[in-house]
Amino acid sequence: MGDGTRVDVSELEQMARRCRVDIVKMTHSAKSGHPGGSLSAIDCMVAIYGTCLRFDTSNPDWEDRDRFIMSKGHASPAMYSILHQMGVLDEGDIMGFRTLGSVCQGHVDMNWTKGVDFSAGSLGMGLSFGLGCAIAAKMDSSDRKIWVMLGDGETQEGQIWEAAMAAKYHNATNLRAIVDRNRIQNDDFMNVQMEIGDIGEKFRSFGWTVKEVDGHDMSSLVDVVDWANSEDGGPVAIVANTIKGNGVSFMENNPSFHGKAPNDEELRIALEELS
């Protein structure tokens, strides 16, 4: 990707659908993992990977690639499904998810998986890491861009706001954060656990340029990603309003599918809905 050609929206929607199939199959096969936050994030990720991320699938270690930092590392099935659909991982790789020796570790890990730029699993760290990548890119006069995918629950971590403050101070115009605003965290809805309020406004108050988007409307996503990619007054944050579990009816807006895999019957229904 990254050659500037725009893929058409329905093709991206098809890719996202195939990713969703991967996500439910992977978690079913592992009997564990995090389908909910993978399904909510996947359309945003497809829009980014499918339209603008400079990334060479035959050389994932290319130094001057854009970076994609999956800070909410538990949504690893989303990451692996993208890499699968782009041909970096094969079916065997993703179906080994969470098993001993698999390149698809429970949480995304840069040492285990080609095409993964960050070792996550502990929430709150990815924006800082992305900022480090952004500062390094500027020092090297490289125009590579750094995308960071955050969970909305994750923004409860103070370190996110340390990074938000530092990104503006260091004029990280090459840094883009996208928040998966699905309003559910681990135990329950955010307004039960710890409501953070207007996340976009908080980023704005730290000097970021912010837009909100429907995180499941591919055509709006393509537009906002295109805007973010070319916006140079950043840092830029996109708050994507999403539905946890999106695409699988019984997982949608259902906190219990944050960290629970579908059983055999649930897989059957999910695949039917996604066909």
């Binding site: 840069m110 040492n111 070792s119 900022l131 500062i135 390094a136 020092m139 340390e162 101070y169």
Partner: protein
């Protein structure tokens, strides 16, 4: 900003070491509002474009360093030893786990730090960082060795933690002295006992060895500036030649240099070991020398431990 001081505080050596390796364009310095204290300020003065100020936000600093390391830089991030600990999990998960070459310097380590009181006196840093896979853990004894060891970090292909001390101590090395990360430096040789020490206690160990020699006890003194990986080859040799050990450190007796030595000795030998260190308690305000007395981190403490160790020889 004043030029690096000519005294023997290891933090000054860190500052000079950064200047020595500055010609490598990959070297970058990260600060959390304590650059004047950790002495990274000298690098900042000379190379502002390669210095990143991150404010009083240590957790962010550690991951910014990791991101920069993943992009080909060699980051040196410093703050007080105690405040690196706030970001322990960031160091563990964000730096060490992916094996990124980030070099953390914690200055003002130990009770030697003095009047600031117990909140500033890290006595557990060596222990906690030592437990992390991939980490190299270093604690130099003076400015000259700190400068040399800092400069060697550029070639270390993985993360490290270096503790430096706030206060000046007598210099034990000369410019150009040979020392290497991972190899203990034998500063004095003797056949009855080996005193393995690090940081500000190395000088104290040498004085103690002199006192002991007047009692007819001849001691080897090692500056074990690298706590991990531990120079077990040297320890094995000294176990054979001396047959008894004392460790001396301005750190808890739990998990630091003494801990490292006891782990190895107890599983490989029956050689006795006595430890001089902070006995599982917090410090308080006071002059460095007063606190070292109070905690038994002095010549008397080492000599008593030496006699105990020798009496336990088989």
């Amino acid at each position: 900003m004043s030029a690096p001081s000519s005294g023997g505080a290891s933090r000054d050596g860190y500052g000079k070491g950064l200047l020595r390796i500055a010609q490598d364009p990959r070297v970058v310095v990260l600060e959390a509002d304590l650059g004047k204290s950790t002495k990274s300020c000298h690098f900042r003065d000379e190379y502002p474009d390669r210095t990143v100020s991150l404010g009083i936000a240590e957790q962010n600093m550690m991951l910014v360093a990791a991101g920069m390391a993943s992009s080909g830089k060699i980051p040196f991030a410093s703050t007080f030893a105690i405040f690196t600990e706030r970001a322990f999990e960031q160091v563990r998960n964000g730096i060490a786990r992916p094996g990124l070459p980030v070099h953390i310097c914690g200055s003002h380590g130990g009770i030697h730090t003095g009047t600031d009181g117990s909140s500033a006196q890290s006595i557990e840093d060596l222990a906690i960082y030592r437990t992390i896979p991939n980490m190299t853990v270093i604690h130099p004894c003076d400015d000259i060795s700190a400068e040399e060891l800092t400069s060697q970090l550029v070639d270390l292909n993985g993360p490290s933690y270096m503790r430096t001390a706030r206060n000046k101590v007598p210099r034990l090395y000369e410019d150009g002295s040979k020392l290497r990360i991972g190899s203990g430096s034998v500063l004095r040789e003797g056949g009855d006992l080996a005193i393995i020490s690090c940081g500000v206690m190395v000088g104290v160990a040498i004085s103690a060895a002199e006192t002991l020699s007047s009692e007819g006890i001849s001691c080897t003194v090692v500056d074990m500036h690298t706590i991990k990986p531990l120079d077990v080859e040297l320890i094995a040799k000294l176990s054979d030649s001396c047959g008894a050990f004392v460790t001396a450190e301005d750190h808890s007796v739990i998990g630091g240099l003494g801990g490292a030595l006891s782990e190895w000795l107890s599983t490989n030998t029956s050689t006795p070991l006595e430890m001089v260190g902070v006995r599982d308690r917090f410090g308080q305000s006071g002059a460095s020398s007063e606190l070292m007395e109070l905690m038994g981190l002095n010549e008397v403490g080492i000599c008593e431990a030496a006699r105990r160790a020798i009496s336990r020889k088989l």
